[in-house]
Symmetry: C2
Subunit: 340 residues, 2 copies
DNA sequence: GAGTCGGTTTACAACGTTGCAAAAGAGGAG
DNA sequence: CTCCTCTTTTGCAACGTTGTAAACCGACTC
């Protein structure tokens, strides 16, 4: 194993505490001892044992990030931002995949692990009450995107109702009247899906378009295959849609695949909007119109709020609404691209 | 803070060690005390402090995973597998993004952090000697995909030469003769790019097709924009290619985008093969032919080897060659999809 | 020369856990 | 009743670190 303070102290002929003082750049150390100690440190290749430090401080210096899965690009991109933001504050990030399906083993393992982390940022796609129950009661928590229970923790989210409304208005503004929605989920009452559906309905109502339940297709998970399957269902309708709002970009890309494979043109026959602004959508053909949440802002707000809590802030739960933008691309508005 | 053994001991009226024995399911504890202690544990909501445990054991129970970026789907998918494999062995994973560009701050922070982790799995896209230099000398290491220096650590990789050769043979088998390659990188001598280029050239040579340097386009990083730019360059040639081997799927998707935007048909005019088998390629239009590395095998081999090292195994560096498969999809072989 | 003051160095305890060895208790055999 | 064995419980030390407070030292003041 690596050298400890004791080893360095012995070699330099000083006390353990003096070495510690040198390492921590304590002011009152004479130049003579400092250099002697430093020499010993270099010679032994000493590095502080963070575990011991953390024990001393009562902290681990590690925050947890609980995500459904890293395979979903939105979460991967978000994780990237969060790791970056945490790193800037000298914190490390431990990733935990909740996996949607409440995997028993995994739940318990997470619960046990929660003792290692000083705080947790969690994105509960499927509102994961059991998961939360397995955590320490006093664990600082920041929720991403979705409220769990009544105001239990700090929250960062975009305004999902407005976002969905804007996206739908955009489709209606193109003159489309059979606007479908893919991605409904009944699982979580106050969840993201519900809010987006609400925005969708508000836009329809405002435009005087009647709400047709047939055009709202649920999705069990938010992957491409779900979007593809939902789109096949929509195409089989007697009166199929001429536009689709997908509750995330993966669903949209899946739907897009189905449409193109069926020989339909996008956006000429069917226009598509997604949510998330994942990189894939910037390079699909056609490129994907989407609601872009400000991921950097989300990550930084989440990390900032969490670290404030870790440092003892005890105000009532706060809520940050992150910016979002509608990015119009080819899947709703063809400019320049030759498309037969 | 949470309750400690001491608190539980006081409440249950026993010694600290007895509580520890109960927690660790030590055999010789009378039923009476066990239940009394358990009661106290439940009442106080006691959970073991893993930091202290780790200090005691001289281990953190955490392994590091150093990746270029999570935003690259291949790495996100790989991280998912590795986290899963580690979790099955009750280990946690700390992710570090090396970011390609040797970011100074990040390097030092990683170096410091390396004291927290018991081992490191690292995927050095751009062979990161500096990064490695910042690590503890005695840190168990497993390399993914690329050798760093002369046999310094355990290695898991696919047979890149063979993989690239097979992919190129597939393109040649379609009758293509102007086969381009996107993704060359001179940075790392024994690196992935070099090996794949070698496989590409072997296939050309075997088929009696002359090697044309003009058809080999380097890529600074392996993102879609790089592939798109490289493809634009290839299209501007006097004698443009009729097939492209891209050194990863993102490059391929970028190239695909350029081709379609230019009004070319894939695969009719230009066929494309990628490497990695990321989910995006299964749902692009056309779907992407690709070399699929067995990510699960890679992840499990890496975690297994690393944990063996952590547990003290001291044999010379080992090397595991993971399986790969050529998945033929629409970008080289159109079956069923209506394409004008 | 005693007293004081500043900088410098140190011993000790503690963070929460567990291995070790020894102490305490419970039976059972002689 | 003593001795032995086996189970149960305990105290101590240690993992590597740092805060606290006290000790040490040289120099300066009166």
């Amino acid at each position: 194993m690596g050298a400890s303070l004791k080893d360095v102290a012995r070699l330099a002929g000083v006390s353990v505490k003096t070495v510690s003082n040198v390492v921590n750049e304590y002011q009152h150390v004479s130049e003579a001892t400092r250099s002697r100690v430093q020499e010993a440190i270099d010679q032994l290749g000493y590095r502080p044992n963070l575990t011991a430090r953390h024990l001393r401080y009562g902290r681990s210096g590690i925050i947890g990030l609980a995500l459904p899965e890293l395979g979903i690009p939105y979460f991967a991109e978000l994780a990237e931002e969060i790791i970056g933001a945490a790193e800037r504050e000298s914190w490390s990030v431990l990733i935990d995949q909740t996996d949607g399906r409440g995997d028993r083993e995994r739940l318990t393992s997470s619960g046990a692990r929660s003792r290692t982390i000083d705080g947790l940022i969690i994105s509960p796609l499927t509102l994961d009450a059991e998961y939360l129950a397995g955590l320490r009661a006093d664990l600082p928590l920041v929720l991403l995107g979705e409220q769990v229970g009544p105001g239990t923790a700090d929250l960062v989210a975009i305004d999902n109702v407005t976002a969905a409304r804007e996206a739908t208005e955009h489709l209606l503004g193109l003159g489309r009247r059979r606007v479908a929605a893919i991605g409904d989920q009944r699982v979580s009452p106050g969840g993201t899906a519900t809010l987006r559906l609400q925005g969708y309905r508000e836009a329809l109502a405002a435009a005087g378009v009647e709400y047709d339940p047939e055009l709202v297709v649920p999705a069990e998970s938010y992957h491409r295959p779900d979007g593809a399957a939902a789109m096949r269902l929509l195409l089989s309708l007697a009166d199929p849609p001429d536009a689709v709002l997908c509750f995330n970009d993966l669903l949209a890309l899946g739907a897009l695949r189905t449409l193109l494979a069926a020989g339909l043109r996008v956006p000429a026959d069917v226009a598509i909007v997604g949510v998330d602004d994942i990189e894939d959508g910037r390079f699909s053909t056609p490129t994907l119109t989407t609601i872009a949440p400000d991921k950097t802002q989300i990550a930084e707000a989440a990390v900032t709020m969490l670290l404030e809590r870790v440092n003892g802030l005890a105000t009532p739960p706060r809520s940050v609404t992150a910016r979002h933008t509608l990015l119009v691309r080819e899947s709703t508005h063809l400019r320049g691209l030759a498309q037969e």
